[in-house]
Symmetry: C2
Subunit: 440 residues, 2 copies
């Protein structure tokens, strides 16, 4: 057992005030106790003490929408209209390159970038999810992989049946791993049939999984849906039984008031990806209105091809700023809620708020420590919550634990993960950049 | 003389392609030559060589709108409507605290934060500009200080005559410093009279200075101006003769098409402060339209009370993303233009594009080097320009030169500046946080 003794504890469990003189006892994968340091030292005299002077300990961040493999495509498709971006760049690149090796290498880079920036969990959607899982295990992240479905063939398979079969086999393969979780992940209303949606909706119930789906990203997705089905995509999914407490609507840029009201009532989540929505000029998600109506709003970086970085501090800050600007209300999405969106609310979105998203007894020991020291960009700290929400930086993360294991030690991955990161960086430089250039 | 030999040179002088095997010869404060390394080594055999392996050398970034002193108020006023923010928080705090000591200490923190993030020049507007200048000199930054004018009394003086007199005396005091420049800085149309504007307009002509002014930040500023003067503030300033090639319109959120056309025609600059505009819910500046019409658009962080960080990489990226989102055009403000906005265009805005903003013979040796190595968040680099524009990070800055002097060496301020930074951080923690709390 190990007793972690930070200068400040921000457990996200109750009070907004960071506490001093607290300690966190880790026993294997979980937090066994949180309380006054002197008390825990007395109760557990044999626990090994780890001091974190000038550091804030808080729950690890949860990135609720990624395509980790796409880290390899960072900078390969910028300043293009969505149609051009997708049809003339991303799909040809993926068609030529997105095999199991691509997914593993891209996911290693993404998981490394995220973990060192304090993201302990990412909720992913991509082909070859078993490779994303392997990468997450090798780097040390917690992952929610998607049982992916899309109607057309890719290198991963020849259609939804094949994708689902392969994803389910991967789920079985990693069933013993406590840091590997699954969702059902129908790609989007414009790429998935009614039958497949229904099938995945049932599968989600049977296996107790969340539903991870792009929805209402662009205005044309909605108008095309109406032309094709006589229904807005949201209405279609509602009719098919998918709009429930399991549902994560990714993007949700073009959701109207009645749709937001239904989401609030049913307990769905709106996963906001502000950088991606701006970069691809998709529009402004109605996040302030959603929060007002009681919809759970979380944040996702999306993939590196539409962001171009996987930094949840930047992304949540941008979500908050954008909600203020778009709603014309500077009080929208305030600092404390920004931190909740990345932790407790994100855990609830993934159906795991009983064991993720807080530093609390019984929860997984997924935690990060943030240095508050020595650097001008940090000071003064008139308000620690605001400091983390509005001027938090990936570069200030010092240590990261996932399931009780120290996976980032003083800003570096540990052991074999560090070697894998270095190898994969070299390969990205020497191999992948050339392959990508050849497709261009 | 010193020969700087980076892996890549991005001079911003002509081509978008970063060049290899180039070198930059520094002689005292200026760049004496830029060219193939082998040639310069042959021509200047006695020059001391500095190797920058795995680093990109480019011009230092120029932050075209700051209130550096306000770094002390970071986190002291968040999630508040503009009226509340200004009248109930910022003004009372400034009224109680903003003396010469406050301005010096805040500016030391701001200049340190900026310099380590690659900002070699900042264009400031605040009371006690002589203290901002002292701080910039002590830390090592280049500064454009403002000859400030506002109609009401503050701790700095009893009105515009007094402010102008004191600022001009400060200008004389630092006349020998090649890194200290001045602008005239009328605060805003709603705080400055016609007489003062006219006087500063004439002063700008006489002393050959740019005009640094907040303009059309909020919708109510415009409607109030119409009620009071029968004119939009822009029209009023145009009538008073201030709208010319010297003019930097800060914020410009509520500029209409004809105003943008006049700005393009007259060669004015729109200084975009996206974080601040979103945080205070001021609206969306029409930057994509401005760029289309040929207006020079640059970027400012604004002060830390309305941002809350002074990071030009984040700010320029956000400016670009927001312009795409607001215009519904993903091709707006592309990557190369993002880098220009922070360098050559910003130098032109300040009337110094003949000696700042490029790595070019005869120019001031204001440069930064950026590490491209070893970290997952950097890779792959499918496009170096996009990498800097859309995933550039302050934390990747390694070395910084201002006027030929190495002021940041391997991510740290050098010599006395480092001591001053450390002292000021301790004072921010022990003294200023308490004073700020007492005003709250």
């Amino acid at each position: 057992m190990q007793l972690i003794c930070p200068q400040w504890l921000l457990s996200m469990a109750d009070s907004e005030a960071p506490l001093e003189n607290q300690a966190v006892l880790i026993d294997q994968e979980r937090i066994k106790a949180v309380g006054p340091r002197s008390e825990l030292e007395h109760l557990y005299p044999n626990a090994k003490i780890m001091e974190l002077p000038n550091q804030v300990l808080m729950p690890g961040l949860i990135n609720t929408h990624t395509h980790a493999a796409m880290n390899l495509l960072r900078g390969a498709a910028d300043d293009l209209a969505l149609h051009d971006w997708l049809q003339n760049r991303i799909w040809p690149l993926e068609g030529a390159l997105a095999d199991d090796e691509f997914v593993f290498d891209g996911s290693v880079l993404a998981a490394s970038e995220m973990l060192k920036g304090g993201i302990t969990t990412f909720n992913d959607m991509y082909f070859f999810p078993e490779q994303t899982v392997r990468a997450a295990l090798a780097v040390g992240s917690r992952v929610f992989a998607g049982i992916i479905a899309i109607e057309f063939p890719t290198r991963y398979g020849n259609g939804p049946d094949d994708y689902i079969k392969k994803s389910l086999a991967a789920r079985d393969e990693f069933a013993g791993e406590s840091t590997v979780h699954w969702t059902v992940a129908p790609h989007a209303p414009y790429t998935v049939s009614d039958d497949t949606f229904k099938r995945l909706g049932l599968l989600a119930e049977e296996l107790d999984l969340q539903i991870h789906c792009h929805l209402h990203e662009t205005a044309s997705e909605v108008t095309d849906g109406i032309s094709r089905d006589g229904l807005r995509p949201f209405q279609r999914l509602d009719k098919l039984g998918l709009i429930n407490e399991r549902f994560l609507a990714v993007h949700g840029v073009h959701l109207n008031t009645s749709e937001l009201e239904i989401m609030a009532q049913k307990g769905c989540t709106l996963v906001h990806c502000p950088s991606s929505n701006l970069k691809l000029a998709s529009g402004f998600a109605p996040t302030a209105q959603a929060l007002d109506l009681g919809v759970r709003v979380t944040v996702g970086t999306d993939g590196a091809a539409s962001n171009n970085k996987l930094d949840l501090w930047d992304e949540a800050r941008l979500g908050s700023l954008l909600s203020k600007g778009y709603a014309g209300n500077a009080t929208a999405w305030p600092a404390w809620k920004v931190l909740k969106s990345m932790t407790v609310d994100a855990a609830a979105a993934l159906g795991k708020d009983h064991e993720l998203g807080m530093v609390k007894s019984g929860y997984f020991a997924d935690m990060i420590s943030i240095e508050i020291n020595d650097k001008a960009h940090q000071w003064p700290i008139n308000n620690l919550v605001s400091k983390l929400a509005y001027s938090g930086h990936s570069r200030d993360i010092v240590n990261v634990w996932v399931a009780g294991k120290l996976v980032v030690d003083t800003q570096q991955l540990v052991g074999k993960a560090a070697d894998l990161e270095a190898q994969t960086i070299r390969k990205a430089h020497r191999v992948w950049q050339t392959r990508i250039e050849q497709v261009s």
